[in-house]
């Protein structure tokens, strides 16, 4: 059982440390036919912005060796429409619902969180930062969110700066950290010949994200949610046993193998954490693998 914001007004209890990553699972019901959602600790929605956004133009899915680049353009009809459209599904959700809010700016974050605060069916907010987010951006984003809602606030940090910014986010009031958002890259689409920028998914992301989680988890006390490239039960265990995460998010592996998130939930289901959030197992030392 994981507690997020246990001292707050609306604490969130995860009965299983397994959830989907934002952008991979839709808004709640899409995987209903394939995944037993009641076994998940929570459902994290696709990213939502205050103002509506259209799908990206040009190629949006480009396979790479052992993975894929996806560039959605963060298409969504805007927070108000999303709430109207999915309110009933959220109310009926067999797992707590965490809405992923794209941190497009403090005002938008304020408006999104204010709107979500009124929704009984919502259990938490995950704030998605952009890749170049600074300590200042994090503070501004969290201040805006805190002034709008008492919901638990999870901050999703970019892969490349997660270890550096984890402490900053905790100090700014994050109740939990998701490490990490999938990294951005640029590939050439073989079908069209065009360059496409987007997020990268694949099993090899795990090596990068596991390291970032291990580095961040020693620096903070709030729960760290490990995310990136989980493609097996052992991958999920590594985040928790080796890197010190309190929970995990399964991402693109589920697209290829929808069973995966169920297998992970079963694997981690019996697992009551025996350590403080953020503490490390014996295997991890802070210099780990630094010297080549």
């Amino acid at each position: 059982m994981i507690e997020i914001a246990p001292g707050g007004k609306r604490p969130l209890t995860l009965h299983n440390p397994t959830m989907p990553a934002a952008g991979t699972f839709g808004f709640g019901g899409e995987y209903g036919a394939l995944v037993p959602i009641d076994r998940l600790g929570a459902v994290v929605t696709n990213p939502v912005t205050w103002t509506p956004r259209k799908p990206a133009k040009g190629p949006r899915v480009v396979p790479v060796t052992g993975g894929v680049l996806v560039h959605t353009g963060l298409a969504n009809p805007g927070m108000r429409a999303v709430i109207r459209q999915y309110r009933a599904i959220w109310a009926a959700s067999p797992a707590p619902v965490i809405v992923h809010v794209v941190a497009t700016g403090p005002e938008d974050v304020y408006r999104c969180c204010e709107a979500l605060d009124r929704e009984e069916a919502i259990s938490g907010v995950e704030l998605g930062l952009h890749d170049q987010a600074t300590a200042r951006d994090i503070a501004d984003t969290l201040a805006a969110a805190q002034s709008a809602t008492q919901l638990p606030l999870i901050v999703r940090l970019p892969l490349f700066s997660a270890a550096d910014l984890a402490g900053t986010a905790e100090q700014a009031g994050a109740h939990a950290l998701t490490i990490a958002a999938p990294p951005r890259g640029t590939v050439r689409d073989p079908a069209s010949g065009e360059l496409v920028g987007g997020r990268l998914y694949g099993p090899w992301i795990k090596a990068l994200a596991l390291r970032a989680v291990g580095q961040a988890a020693v620096r903070v006390k709030v729960p760290v949610i490990g995310s990136g490239g989980i493609h097996s039960r052992q991958d999920a265990r590594d985040y928790i046993d080796a890197a010190g995460a309190a929970a995990v998010q399964v991402d693109a592996g589920m697209w290829v193998q929808p069973d995966l998130i169920k297998a992970v939930a079963n694997e981690l289901g019996g697992l009551d954490r025996t350590r403080m959030a953020g503490s490390l197992s014996d295997e991890w030392t802070s210099e780990f693998g630094q010297d080549e």
Binding site: E30, V68, A75, W255
Partner: protein, 244 residues
């Protein structure tokens, strides 16, 4: 939609770059309607990463027949993992008798089940093949179908009176050009037969489908009344509903 396994019974090369795969599955004939597709993982590795789209050509002798690139990946005895059926059947207009199918620079595989069903029901299907599409072996199509060869993008449309006699037009273009091509088609149709009625012209969006269940947002097509999810609401979408 469900997840299941199937076994490869036979692989026959029908052209240099196309193989016919016979698959033993627990999908009943008729349970996958023309237009619907399966997402298939060929082996339990993560390379290739995404599932492959299979649009069944037909069922025969209890087996499902699939056309796919003839690259020797599949062997008899292999087991594949299947998600499906995905998407919606072709939204055919009630009472439509004469279909005009246009395939541009891609394989007409996704339309074959439709061609067989319509001609089997005594309706008429005219297939216009452009560019690469002309490589599909004509012997594999029902004899009743009329096959035309066209030189270039929709250019011929105003030369013929197809738009007048057809009850429904269904177009298939390569995924990375689909939106652009269907925009051209839609504009041409509206010049020749304006306003084209709702449901008259369909575009088949054979887009890469990371999830196939409407979760990942990678296949959204901009719509006039909100974005349309090609993997679940399509693959065939009414061009009148698209915001080009």
């Amino acid at each position: 939609m469900r997840q299941t396994h199937a076994s490869i019974e036979r692989v026959t090369r029908i052209t240099a770059d196309l193989a016919r795969v016979e698959v033993a599955t627990d999908f009943a004939p008729g349970s996958i309607r023309p237009g619907q597709y399966l997402l298939v993982r060929l082996r339990p590795a993560w390379e290739p990463y995404l599932r492959e789209r299979w649009t069944p050509v037909r069922f025969a002798g209890g087996l499902m027949l699939i056309d796919r690139p003839g690259d020797d990946v599949l062997m008899p005895g292999d087991t594949v993992d299947i998600l499906g059926p995905c998407g919606k059947p072709f939204p055919l207009r009630p009472g439509a008798e004469r279909f005009l199918l246009i395939v541009q620079n891609t394989s007409l595989t996704p339309l074959i089940a439709l061609i067989e069903e319509t001609t089997g029901a005594g309706k008429s299907a005219t297939v216009v093949l452009e560019g690469e599409a002309q490589r599909y072996p004509p012997g594999e199509l029902p004899r009743e179908v009329e096959i035309l060869h066209a030189p270039q993008a929709w250019g011929w449309l105003d030369q013929v009176d197809a738009i007048k006699w057809a009850d429904q037009i269904i177009a298939l273009a390569p995924p990375h050009r689909a939106l652009e091509r269907y925009a051209q088609l839609w504009s041409t149709i509206n010049q020749l037969r304006a306003p084209a009625p709702a449901g008259f012209a369909l575009g088949y969006f054979n887009l890469p489908a990371p999830c196939g269940v409407g979760a990942c947002g990678a296949c959204l097509v901009p719509g006039k009344h909100g974005d349309i999810c090609a993997c679940t609401d399509g693959p065939a979408l009414d061009l009148a509903e698209i915001s080009f």
